[in-house]
């Protein structure tokens, strides 16, 4: 049997499914278990990456039918370039995080056994891969549920704390609402595929071949978009993200933020571009609007946070918004039959998917290392960690630079491509869209700038300055954690410096999805220059930017270093103020204050200041004994959407509860009435 990508992919999935079987053998040797399972998981991820890269490179499609499942409903599996791409994304981050886990998971051993973590981690990875490879609605939903359930148990790993349980509960609730919507969407498409006659329409192939009438297609799309948005954390269904991601163990948060949200993106792309192929322009505009909302709201919420992992979770909302912007643009261009523009937009969206997996994974891994070392999650109690944890700081910095879309790292490439796609909107025939898209581009620029601000805050308050907390036992992360992070950072750099190679590798995907391709223009002037549409239009050479900055910095350093001037170390000058202590530094809250004042109308903000006076009489504020400052920033969505829905469901539940009277006669009356009705009807 020759090796094909499909064999590699399915062996990866099988390995992940079989690792949990090893757990009972190592119950008493936890450290050995962690080492072995993480290594095997890393190998399996590497197999998945190989399968993915190979599939996209070859541009091939393989389908298989497996005789599991119900009698007339076998499982269909398919590995085409789009699946291959997502296999690469998931597998790559999975590989890095598995290496990181070797060191990280050992940190839990002092409190509890980690068997649950290992079992559900591998089931989670397997579930994600199975979602990508599924080719029928039945297998897709089973894998979807495996993924959701496994991640639920992972989020609930430290279940002795109430906030962890609450976070996990909200997560599973929203995930299930989403799953119901996806199920309904598949139901609509499957029944239309066979005209309600038999069950054969549940395969994606059958759905692909059907021409959906526009109203039903819209219903299917809206349901699918709702369902996948709930999983992706699109505004306003994002509230579970900042509750669930921070409480999970950090390697799990890295995976959830980095790749689980991407399975939802995969779902949207698959349903829209592959299954429902013809759609009107306003679908793309809906996706674009929700993408913009998520991006702007996500970054504004992130700026208000002082919990490092919550901040990163809100940034995932923002980046999913950016990905959806790219996809929305691609949908709009496709509906107006502009294949090359659509190819650019969808390449931008998918490239950002890969980038986000890399840098968000890196950031969460770094945050995990910090939490592991300091045992605090609140940024306001940290500071000065760059001296105690230099490696983690440098790697976290690389993540911060990448997510702020600064050259020469990878975040810039996908943002640049998205902006170029926006700049092509004057080619649209509709005059209203021509005017509104540039405004949307300006909002995207605002998001990028606010993200940079947020990460200056996150990195600066956590790692720079002086330690603001109480205890000072901080140690650097272990070598396995460092290696995991180093590899991720190197991939961030690679994706940023060699974009032409990546784009030409993944070019088969836009060709299959929207009918246009970029290679004829993107690499036209050789691999050094990225020229998406044409050379005179726009060009960017990442390797040259990187090289020139490096050369200039080195030259100046050498030139100035040979001078006779010395460097003295002394105490802080601070304009001559003496007696500086660590409490005088800026905190995260103070850093974000101007933004809070300017954009504050979006949140519910309550700021209270109470000054305790030093003399006996109240009202003397001149020499205060202490000042109490309390800031509360709340998400308006709780009050507008979630509380009313929760209240309504409780009300319905109470009314329905009245049926349960507890007396036997009443139940007998229920049965009696039902029998009479059935006799009348039948």
């Amino acid at each position: 049997m020759s090796i094909s990508p499909f064999i590699l992919a399915s062996s990866a999935i099988l390995i992940f499914l079989s690792i949990p079987l090893l757990v009972p053998l190592f119950l008493r040797h936890q450290r050995l278990l962690i080492n072995i399972s993480s290594l095997i998981a890393a190998i399996a991820s590497l197999l998945a990456v190989t399968a993915g890269v190979w599939t996209v490179w070859k541009g091939s499609t393989e389908s298989y039918i497996i005789l599991l499942g119900l009698p007339d409903l076998p499982f269909h599996l398919r590995l085409d370039p789009l699946s291959g791409f997502f296999f690469t994304v998931i597998g790559l981050l999975g590989f890095f995080v598995s290496i990181y886990s070797i060191g990280y998971v050992k940190g839990f051993l002092s409190h509890r056994p980690v068997n649950r973590l290992i079992v559900f981690y591998n089931l989670f990875m397997a579930g994600m891969f199975m979602v990508i490879i599924a080719d029928d609605a039945f297998f897709f939903l089973i894998s979807w549920e495996i993924m959701a359930a496994a991640s639920y148990f992972l989020v609930m790993f430290e279940d002795e704390k109430a906030e962890n349980r609450k976070g996990a509960f909200i997560y599973i609730l929203v995930a299930h609402v989403g799953a119901i919507a996806i199920l309904l969407s598949f139901g609509v498409m499957a029944s239309l595929a066979t005209g309600f006659e038999n069950f054969g329409g549940y395969t994606f192939d059958a759905m692909r071949q059907t021409e959906f009438p526009i109203k039903w297609a819209t219903a299917a799309f809206l349901l699918a978009f709702l369902g996948f948005s709930a999983k992706a954390g699109v505004f306003p269904l994002h509230v579970w993200l900042p509750e669930a991601h921070p409480v999970a163990p950090s390697n799990v948060s890295a995976l959830m933020s980095g790749v689980m949200l991407k399975t939802a993106i995969y779902g949207i792309v698959r349903v829209t571009f592959d299954i429902i192929k013809d759609f009107p322009w306003w679908w793309g505009v809906i996706v674009l609007i929700f993408g913009l909302l998520s991006a702007v709201m996500g970054v504004l919420y992130a700026l208000m946070q002082h919990d490092l992992k919550r901040l990163l979770a809100y940034h995932s909302v923002e980046n999913i918004g950016i990905i959806l912007i790219g996809i929305g643009l691609a949908m709009t261009f496709t509906s107006f039959h502009l294949p090359v523009l659509a190819a650019l937009a969808i390449t931008a969206g998918l490239y950002h998917t890969l980038n986000h997996a890399m840098f968000k994974g890196l950031l969460f891994m770094g945050a995990g290392a910090v939490l592991h070392a300091t045992r605090v999650r609140n940024m306001e109690e940290m500071g000065g960690l760059i001296h105690k944890m230099p490696w983690t700081a440098a790697l976290f910095l690389i993540g911060c630079i990448s997510i702020s879309a600064l050259p020469p790292f990878n975040g810039f490439v996908s943002e640049w491509l998205t902006f170029q796609a926006f700049l092509l909107s004057p080619s649209l025939p509709s005059p209203i869209l021509k005017l509104i898209f540039p405004l949307a581009a300006a909002l995207l620029a605002l998001t990028a700038a606010l993200a940079a601000t947020c990460f200056v805050k996150a990195f600066g308050i956590t790692f720079l300055g002086q330690w603001r907390g109480h205890h000072t036992h901080v140690h650097e992360a272990s070598w396995s954690m460092r290696i995991g992070m180093i590899l991720t950072a190197v991939s961030c750099l690679f994706l940023g410096v060699f974009p032409t190679m990546v784009i030409s590798w993944m070019d088969i995907i836009p060709e299959k999805l929207v009918g246009g391709s970029l290679t004829t223009t993107a690499g036209q002037f050789g691999w050094l220059w990225l020229t998406p549409i044409s050379h005179s239009r726009a060009s960017y050479s990442a390797p040259l930017v990187f090289l020139i900055i490096l050369v200039v910095v080195l030259l100046i350093y050498i030139f100035l270093h040979t001078r006779k001037t010395a460097i003295h170390r002394g105490p802080l000058w601070d304009c001559g103020f003496e007696k500086i202590d660590t409490r005088m530094q800026y905190t995260g809250t103070s850093f974000a204050m101007p933004i809070r004042r300017i954009f504050g109308f979006i949140f519910m903000i309550k700021e209270t200041v109470r000054i305790e006076a030093s003399t006996g009489t109240p009202g003397h504020n001149i020499f205060p004994k202490s000042i109490h400052y309390r800031l509360r920033v709340r998400d308006r969505m709780w009050g507008w959407i979630y509380s009313p829905v929760a209240d309504a469901s409780f009300w319905i539940a109470r009314k329905t509860g009245k049926l349960q009277q507890g007396r036997i006669q009443v139940y007998l009356v229920y049965s009696f009435v039902t029998i009479i009705i059935l006799l009348v009807l039948l």
Partner: protein, 219 residues
């Protein structure tokens, strides 16, 4: 005539700029100056259109606009402001960036609305119809988002500017009799407004139109 069309476009852009300026300017004297500039650009534009389309009655309209909107009306308003001893800053109902965004939305909306006219018209000035409609809407927005009585009359006058501009761009101006009539009406309106302002000030001791809410029946 390409140059004339370009000059007309530039003047239309300047009219739009002054309309936005009226929307966001805080100081009363600044508002007056902007209104005068808007009138000036309008009269030059009318003159240019008259030259290009060889409609000589537009020259008379242009001079009329110059006299009325650049000289007489600002002078009347200036005297009014001095006599009423109004302080220089003007409050708004919503903050200024939000007003700007609403203004942009209105401009896009008027562009979308006048698209069919642009297709059908054969005049030199067809591209400026959108700007004219936008000026009317921005004048109305200014009346809505300001709290001071004097600024509301400036908004009303700005609306009239927009309508005049629309007439020039759509049909090369209205018949001369109509224009004279409208000019006279505006002059009289300015006088009547002035008289009312004194009354309002006597009754409420302020020119903040929010105070008029006190005229409601108490429940």
């Amino acid at each position: 005539m390409n140059i004339a069309a370009q000059i007309n476009s530039i003047l239309a852009a300047l009219v739009l700029l002054t309309a936005f300026g009226l929307l966001v300017q805080r100081r009363i004297y600044g508002l007056l100056h902007l209104f005068a500039w808007q009138g000036l650009f309008l009269s030059i534009s009318t003159g240019v259109v008259g030259y290009v389309a060889r409609q000589h009655h537009l020259y008379i309209s242009s001079i009329l606009t110059l006299a009325l909107k650049v000289i007489v009306l600002p002078y009347i308003l200036h005297t009014l402001i001095v006599r009423l001893k109004i302080h220089k800053e003007v409050e708004t109902v919503v903050n200024i960036p939000t007003t700007m965004l609403m203004g942009i939305a209105l401009v896009i909306f008027s562009y979308h609305l006048t698209a069919p006219i642009r297709e059908l018209s054969t005049l030199v000035t067809r591209s400026t119809i959108a700007v004219a409609l936008a000026t009317v809407m921005l004048g109305l927005l200014m009346m809505i988002t300001r709290r001071h009585a004097v600024t509301q009359i400036i908004g009303f006058l700005a609306m009239e500017n927009g309508l005049f501009f629309a007439a020039t761009s759509a049909t090369y101006g209205m018949p001369l009799v109509v224009e004279l009539g409208v000019g006279l009406d505006i002059l009289i309106a300015a006088f009547i407004f002035g008289i009312f302002f004194f009354h309002i000030r006597e009754t409420f001791d302020s020119l903040d139109v929010e105070q008029m809410a006190r005229l409601k029946e108490e429940e």
